[in-house]
Homo-oligomer: 246 residues x 2
Amino acid sequence: MSKEATMEVLIIEDDPLHRSYLHDAVRAALPECDTVLEAENGRIGEGLARQHRAAHIVMDLQMSERNGIEAARTIWKERPDTRILFWSNYADEAYVRGVSRIVPEGAAYGYVLKSASDDRLKLALRGIFMESQCVVDREVRGMQQKSLGNSHGFTDVEYEILIDIALGLTDRMIARRQNLSLRSVQNRLQQLYEKLDVYQRLGDDGDEGRYNLRSRAVSVAFLRKLINYSALERAEAELNEWLGIK
Amino acid sequence: MSKEATMEVLIIEDDPLHRSYLHDAVRAALPECDTVLEAENGRIGEGLARQHRAAHIVMDLQMSERNGIEAARTIWKERPDTRILFWSNYADEAYVRGVSRIVPEGAAYGYVLKSASDDRLKLALRGIFMESQCVVDREVRGMQQKSLGNSHGFTDVEYEILIDIALGLTDRMIARRQNLSLRSVQNRLQQLYEKLDVYQRLGDDGDEGRYNLRSRAVSVAFLRKLINYSALERAEAELNEWLGIK
DNA sequence: GCGAAATATGCGGGATCCCGCAAGACAATC
DNA sequence: GATTGTCTTGCGGGATCCCGCATATTTCGC
């Protein structure tokens, strides 16, 4: 084994076409890479990462068997210095937030959209794997700021309660889960409704367009991509875990 | 123009890789096809279909600008004999049901998963475009039967009320929309809760796992892929239209 | 330390939701 | 026609949700 330039890259990606495209891109961008592993979903990817002690991973977020965020979380839990490039179709706030929540202190990672050019992808590959940089696409970055800066975005508490009502919990249950009084939960809910611009227009004549605030909030959160299927899936798993512990 | 074998195929697909793969597949499967048009989202696809009077279309369902079901609906509304092959990643009940709802009487169409083999895709292309057959993948077919046969599936009324609570409407509003009494709406809701296996387990000790049935129903419907983002998006559009008319 | 602002909690009432009970409407079957 | 089954509607009550008002607690800047 020559001391210079030996490197292994693991690709975790649902779609065969995208997988082979990624494979080519990795080969082209990283001549020092001598082996490329491929996994077709998160579960298999986790296994391969563990088995090969993979240090360089590029993965999709939206996968059927086990989505990218779950896989990344367990991988990072075992080896926090793993470098991961997320290569996704979308910059939904749910994804961006999900990633931000799990990236370990000081880890090198990236978030590049599939719609990005070849060059952007290759630059990101080199930046993260060779230079330990963090490379985040502009579109994603914009979402991140809107998400964290609470100008128009949502604080973590608001987000958590949003998840809880999306899961269908009662106020009382949420209170217990978040260690709050019932009234506080309701307070936060109102806060949330306001930010989501959800309100019952009890029209002057008494029966204008009228929503169930709780359900409506979940609805617009979905439409605004604040939450999506995979976020819900993860939240459901966490809830069940908590219910088990309790 | 020779009287034999002149044919135009329109491809509507988000992803460049998939688009070019489709292009190749069409060329290979249909030598009688002399022109292939490409559109990168539903909106553009609709325009091209209208402009070229496209009779043969293959399209993705999940697209950003305007999803496949919406596009297909307007296309079929203008020319119901258009032959459309849906080529999708998923067989979510929401998609399958959405397609079944819009396919015109006696139209030739197909539903093939992206995970299918080259041969399956090519067979479907020839079957639909040349032989006017309906070609539906086995996995999708299974979903369709489960959906229509009410063994474990949902009737249309149940599905409609599910959509309505997913949109966040109140009982009263739903009643008005469906032309029902308030009590009937609540009846159907209970029917829905039962089928979704959603119930408040007011545990023996009084405070066991407890859900808000309405929100929880939406939640599990999402997790079971009875509804998904694009279904919600469509429903929201229809709701706004109705609100405008009213 | 000390106000100010944000957040958490309690109380209470009106609206909505969940649902058992029962009576009428309609269709299908015998 | 009688019966059975499904669907609809009304009534009523208990639980939950939505939210205004008031008080405590925490957080932050100075």
